[in-house]
Every structure is written in C-alpha cells, then in structure tokens.
Amino acid sequence: MPDLNLLVASIISGLLIGAVYGIATVGLNLIFGVLRIVNVGHGAFIMLGAYLAFIVYTSLGLPPLLGVVAGLAVGAVLGLIIYYLVIRYLHDAPELATLLATFAIGILIQELVKAVMGPDSRGFVWNPLAAYEFEIFGYKPSSFQILAALSSLALLAFLYVVIYRTRLGLAIRAVVQDREGAMVVGIDVERIYAASFALGIMVTVASGAILAAYLQTGIHPYMGEIYTLKGFVIAVMGGLGSIPGAFIAGVLFGLFENVSYLLLAGIEGVQPLVLTRSIAFLLLLLILLVKPTGLMGR
C-alpha cells in the first residue's frame, strides 16, 4: 500500500504542475478551435516565454513571473507577424499545409533563439517567500510552485474575461460556432482569425514564463519539444477547441503522471517514473475510447 503522505504529496504536486500544463495548452486549443490549425511549433513559443522569464529575472532583476507580461506583449507582436506573413495565406490550403508551416516556424524560432542565447541549458533560483513554509496536508510545496500555479489561474481568468466578456470574445466564439454564420452577420472573420491567433500565441508565450518560474532549470532552445507533445495530448484529452477542457485535462494529466507513479513503484524490475509516461498515454487512449472527442469536446 502506498504511504499516505506520499499519496498526498503526489496529489498536491500533481495539481500544481497540472495547472501549469493546463495553461500551457490553452493557447494551442484556442488556435485550433478558431483556425483549425494544429500548431506544431507550439513548444517553441513556450521556450520563448521561458527565456523571457529568464531574462526578466537575471538581466533586469525582476521576478520571473513578470515574464508573463513580457510574454503577452511579445506573443501579441509575434502572433500578428506570423499570422499576416504566413498563416493568412494558408486558409484554403489543406490542414496539413499549415502543419508544415507551423513546424518550420518552430524550427526557425528555435534556431534564432539558439543563435542569440547559445545552446546552453540555463536556469535560475527564485524563491521569494522562502522564509515562509506552506503546508498542505503535511506536504510542503515551494513558494514559487504555488505562485506559478496561481499565475496560471490568473492567466486563465484573463483569457476567460477576453473571451466571455468582450466584443472580440463574442466574435471569436461566433466564428468557432459557425464561420459562415459569423460572416453573414458582419463579423470580419479575417480579423478575428488574426486576433485569435495572436491571442493563442500570447497565452502560450506567457505560459512559458510560468513554466520557467515553476521549473527554474532546463531552459534551452529545444526544451519546447516535449511541451508540443504533451500539449497535443492534453488538448485532445480535454477536447479540441475547448479552453476549459484543456485546462482541466492539464490538471488531470499532471495528477495522473504523479499518482500513477505510486502504483507502479511496487512493481519489481521496472522503472516506475518512466512507465508513468506510458500510463499517461494509455489514459489518453482510454478517454478517447469512451469519449472520442475528449472530455469536453463537442
């Protein structure tokens, strides 16, 4: 029987990292929901956000979570540039063409970042509330982990307000539901596409900053690849295009990765932490077996 303390620890740390996974997937889902584009370069934008947090902290001496603000700004500019330079031309193209385009964009970002920042694996130490001890059911997460998870929620709230409380959000939702219909009522679908793409990139880059604040190590030009992969899986688990679905699935994914470890740890001759990955993907298949459009997909 797994030790109860370990179980609690796993659940809490799973929830914390899960919130970060969740926010790191939301942008991917937004872009898919509106533009029907699977952004294969997703991880590169997360990596960019992580570097922003790194620079904000090490060069400017500000808390790395302010990288979220920088991420939103950089993401907005980058998102618009990419949209008007590339994505705009690919509306009528087969879905796969956009896949290739976003892949190439990802490579470009990786290599440009590497040219500027070098190939090294960077990191920092930031623990602003080290003096305080947080204890949840006997488990003591670090302050930066809690702050990162809270920032994820804040960013999610920001996105929620944009989508459910603004004219732009209304228009975006209209386009998601039925683009012809939206066009007929006078929505400039082209501009909504641009705005949604930019919004998706903004959230993704910003989530990279949150991720960096949570992990604080392992910031390098190729760090994003695993998040592209995890992002895909979480997005599908939650239901493509569903923003709350993405977030909930992210939390679930984090939770599951952590808790399944305890079960696997009892098996002789295997490497439990490695196998949790297999189990997490198995979970994806099971969810899709029961609900082929993900937890909250239509």
Partner: protein, 349 residues
Amino acid sequence: MALVDPWTVREAVRKSLPALAIYAVLLAAYFLIPGKSQLFATILFYALLGQAFNIFMGMTGYVDFGYVAFLAVGAYAFGVTAMALASLGSPGWTLIPLGLLAAAGAAMILASMVGAIALRLRGAYFAIATIGVNEGLRYFFEGANILGGSIGLYIVKDLKTLFGDEGYQFMATIAADLLMFGLAGFTVLVTAWILSSRMGFALQAIREDEDAARALGVNVTKYKVLAFMTSGALGGMLGALNWALKEGVLEPETVFFIVYTVEAIIIVVLGGAGTLLGPIVGALIYIGLNYVSNVYAAPLLEGIGIKASGLHLILLAPILIAFIIAAPNGIIGLLRERIRNPTIRRFLV
C-alpha cells in the same frame, strides 16, 4: 470479383511508370555519381518513408502522428530475428526474407491493435491518439526494460555472425540500400494498384466525406484498416532495412523519434498528398534543400563572416514556408492545377 482485372493492372502499370522511372534514375545516380551514394540512399529512405506514410495519410486523410512506431517495431522485429538466427547458426541469407516478414508482421499486428482503438476517432483526435501510441511504446520499452531498455539493441555482432565480416560490410552498405530500392519499387506498385482499384476509390471517398462514403456502400472500417495495415507493414520493412540492417543499433530514443513522422508529413505535403509522385518529389526537395544549404550555402555564408551554428536550418525554414504558401497542395498538386496539357497530366499521378 476479378482481383486481377486487366484494366486495373494496365492502369496501375501506367500510373507506376513515372515513379519507377524516378527511382531508376536515383538508382543509376546511386551507382554512377561518386561520393553521393549515401545522399541518394537518404533521399530514397525519405521518399519511401513518405510513400509508405502516404498510403494511409494521403489517401484517407487520416494523419498518423505516431507513424514512426511502425518503423521502430519493424526494426526491432528484424533485430530479434537476426539475433535468433545468429544463435541458431542459420545461413545469413535467411535473415532477409524472415527478418522482413517479421518486420512486416510486427508492424501489422501493431496496426491492427492501434487501428481497433484509434480508427474510431476522427481528424486530429486520431492524429494525437497515435502520438500517444508511439510515445507510450517508447517509454514502455525504456521503463519495462524491453529488448535492452533505453540502451537499446545492438545487433552488429549478430549480423557479422550471419554474414561474416566482409558480408556484413556488403549487407550494411550496398545490399541494404538495394533492398530499399526494391522495397521502393514494390511500394510504388502497391500504391499504383490501390489507386487504380476499388480500394483507391473507396479511400478517396473516405477522405472526401466519410459519412457519405458509408451511406454509399463503402465499408469504411475495412478499407481504413486495410490501408493502415499496408502502410504500417511497408513502414516496418523500411525500419528493418534502414535502421536494423544498415545501422545495427536500435535505441528507443532514436527509433521512436517523432521527428521522423513530422518529416514524413513534410515530404508528403511538399510533394502532394495522395499522389504517387508526391512523396518522391517531396523527398528530393526536402533532403536536396537540406543538403545544399548544409553543405554549400552555410559554408558560403560562414566564408563571408556570418557564423552561427544552425545557420542552414535558419535558411531552410523560410524556404519551406514559402514553398507551402506557393503550393499548398504540394508540387504535384500545383502542376496538376497549372498544366492543362492532357499528355503531361497523365503522368502527374
């Protein structure tokens, strides 16, 4: 039903000629252009990867993001066969048919298992469920210590036992490539046959509108599974030849490497999805551009003082983007739109 309907055969032969011609040229280049044989072998590998992938993805519209798992499983099956035969003291030549059979078989088993679950899913859900299969398998190999775990399977020694030192040298360099040329020809014929037969029509109907296809009498599940297994089996044999026989070292990290799937997609999309020539043209462009930018362009730029590692990828990425904006349906797709001449069109298959 006439399986060998003469019209279908004629059509298939006609359709396969241009592709076979390109492979013939590649084969000639492989032998005649000195110092480039491995470049052509690499182009061949990617063309085959694209073609095998295309049978399922190009024709049904389903993107199997975990496709590389078929290559990996095929390579492992070939590796295990080699080890078994070496320990049994069998003659070397038996490995080729038995190993390829094992590779195709293992890949088909995987395809039927994955297909049973994932083929019920549509679009991106299918794509990503298959990523799950690939990654899940990789971590399973590593975590449960299957066939050498993360360290991998080393079969060079076994291959040397089977073929002798000289023989191994020949197998790993020339014979593996020639077998891949053979597999390429076979793949072209299979693809052309599918395109010219009922199956091709069924797959196209599925790609265009699966519900309508079902209502119109197409046994959607059967054709999807058939195409998936064909594509998987070809992939398995490709993995066996290019990785197991040619390199002799199989590590989960590199054989379940998802970038191969992405590259397969790039090649198919660049050339034209669902076409026979598309993947070959795509591979020529993709690997050709990569090689040229790596071997010629990057050193030129370095020569004028622009020094950055990764330079050639910085050059390559925008070119790829430009390509796809100019020809979103791929090169063959573009040519089909542009060229009205029916004679030439006949060869753009």
